[in-house]
């Protein structure tokens, strides 16, 4: 892990939605160490600033793949990068989805909005080892059909259940409408032997975790990816503190048994 950003070049750019892009990056020289699903890099838009962005795919070799939504000055600068542009990269940082603990279990991968991006490498890892896990369910919620990420990949994730629901359908939408938790009743899993990976807005993750626990999933087997203000990414500056946790170091992926009491404290 390096503390100084390493130069990476944009070698591919894929527009996912009107405000979200997936960038493929290759190092100019020295490369960052290997990433695990759920970990993040600090992406530096030169002259603008640095933001944490999870890996959204882990290809072979030294290439990195990140999906960025333009929500502020830095991410907007990253979103505008074209093939051949340069970006500074630090990482890998943080905890990963604990797939080792999930081995043999049914898996629920539950995403809200752009939360599907940090989960995609976990889905890839599970699909690459089909006999290592139980039944895989991928459930995703989005604001509208136009906001859906990786739309073409959902059919390849159907083992045995993968579906998307939107809050605001357009007239052409023939899929599900409603919050993502409404899909749980149709997923294929045995609660006592299930691991859930959840990423999305915090309210959505709390509601999902409550529902899962009510159905009998163990709280420590509900893994959530938490979002706080990350700056140094090395556990020194304290910006990402959540109670006893520094989320750049102790997160972003945390078991709900640890996260629940912290998320129930206002303004912590």
């Amino acid at each position: 892990m390096t503390l100084a950003p390493l130069p990476y070049r944009v070698v591919d750019r894929r527009d996912e939605t009107h405000d979200t892009v997936t960038l493929s990056l290759e190092p100019a020289g020295e490369a960052l160490g290997p990433f695990a699903p759920g970990q993040f890099a600090m992406m530096y838009a030169f002259g603008v600033g640095e933001v944490p962005v999870s890996v959204s795919r882990i290809p072979d070799g030294q290439r990195l793949t990140h999906t960025v939504r333009a929500v502020g000055a830095v991410t907007r600068a990253l979103w505008t990068l074209r093939t051949g542009a340069w970006v500074g990269m630090r990482g890998p940082f943080g905890t990963c989805w604990d797939l080792a603990a999930a081995r043999g279990n049914d898996l629920l991968v539950i995403a809200g909005g752009i939360g599907i991006a940090p989960l995609r490498p976990a889905i890839d890892a599970v699909l690459a080892e089909p006999h290592g896990y139980g039944r895989l369910n991928v459930l995703a919620g989005a604001r509208s059909p136009a906001d859906l990420l990786y739309r073409n990949e959902f059919p390849t994730w159907e083992r045995p259940f993968s579906t998307v629901t939107v809050d605001r359908p357009d007239d052409d939408w023939t899929g599900r409408v409603g919050v993502v938790t409404t899909l749980l009743g149709e997923a294929h899993f045995t609660p006592a032997d299930t691991t859930a990976l959840v990423c999305g807005p915090e309210v959505m993750m709390r509601a999902t975790a409550r529902d899962l626990i009510h159905r009998g999933v163990r709280p420590d087997r509900v893994q959530v990816s938490l979002e706080r203000n990350m700056r140094c990414a090395t556990g020194h500056c304290g910006h990402c503190q959540l109670g006893p946790l520094l989320l750049c170091r102790d997160g972003p992926v945390v078991g709900y048994d640890r996260a629940e009491p912290l998320l129930s404290v206002r303004e912590l």
């Binding site: 600033g49 929500v71 409408v177 919050v179 409404t182 999305g200 509601a207 706080r228 990350m230 989320l247």
Partner: protein
């Protein structure tokens, strides 16, 4: 086919009822099959039945002048379809249409209300199930009102993605 007494409702909303209550209710049910795009009920019509979905998806919609039917929610396997039959004026608040083939247990609302009047303990248990369903949908609706996936107003610096 009328299900046997005590037969589970197919992973459905009634499964949380005591077996004896569930059995009495299921004795009033019969199988219903709706081909794709069947209008199951219309907004404003008399709510004289309800269903437990066994398979498939049903879209709930509202007629919006100038826009036509607008889907506000979809429900699937195990869900209770319809609760307007429980309280006056017993007219559907929404329309419902099958999205693809749907199998369901269909219940005659008047018969169920009579059973509830005859067996207040069963009635209380059933009303509790319906209230849980209404509560779940109210919470889901309120969550959607938050527009969690909408244009973010928070500053950058979060944990990604």
């Amino acid at each position: 086919m009328t299900p046997q007494t005590g037969e589970p409702a197919g992973g459905g909303a009634l499964d949380t009822l005591p077996a004896e209550h569930r059995g009495r209710l299921m004795a009033l049910a019969h199988e219903a099959a709706f081909p794709s795009t069947t209008r199951i009920f219309e907004e404003g019509d008399e709510a004289d039945r309800f269903w437990i979905i066994r398979s498939g998806t049903v879209a709930l919609d509202v007629h919006v002048p100038g826009r036509g039917r607008t889907v506000v929610e979809t429900i699937g396997r195990g869900a209770l379809l319809g609760w307007s039959w429980l309280c006056p004026p017993r007219h559907w608040h929404l329309g419902a249409e099958s999205r693809g083939p749907v199998l369901a247990w269909e219940f005659d609302a008047a018969a169920v209300r009579s059973l509830c009047a005859e067996r207040p303990d069963l009635g209380l248990a059933l009303v509790t199930v319906v209230a849980e369903t209404i509560g779940d949908r109210l919470r889901a609706t309120r969550t959607r009102l938050l527009d969690l996936y909408g244009p973010p107003g928070s500053p950058e610096g979060g944990a990604g993605p």
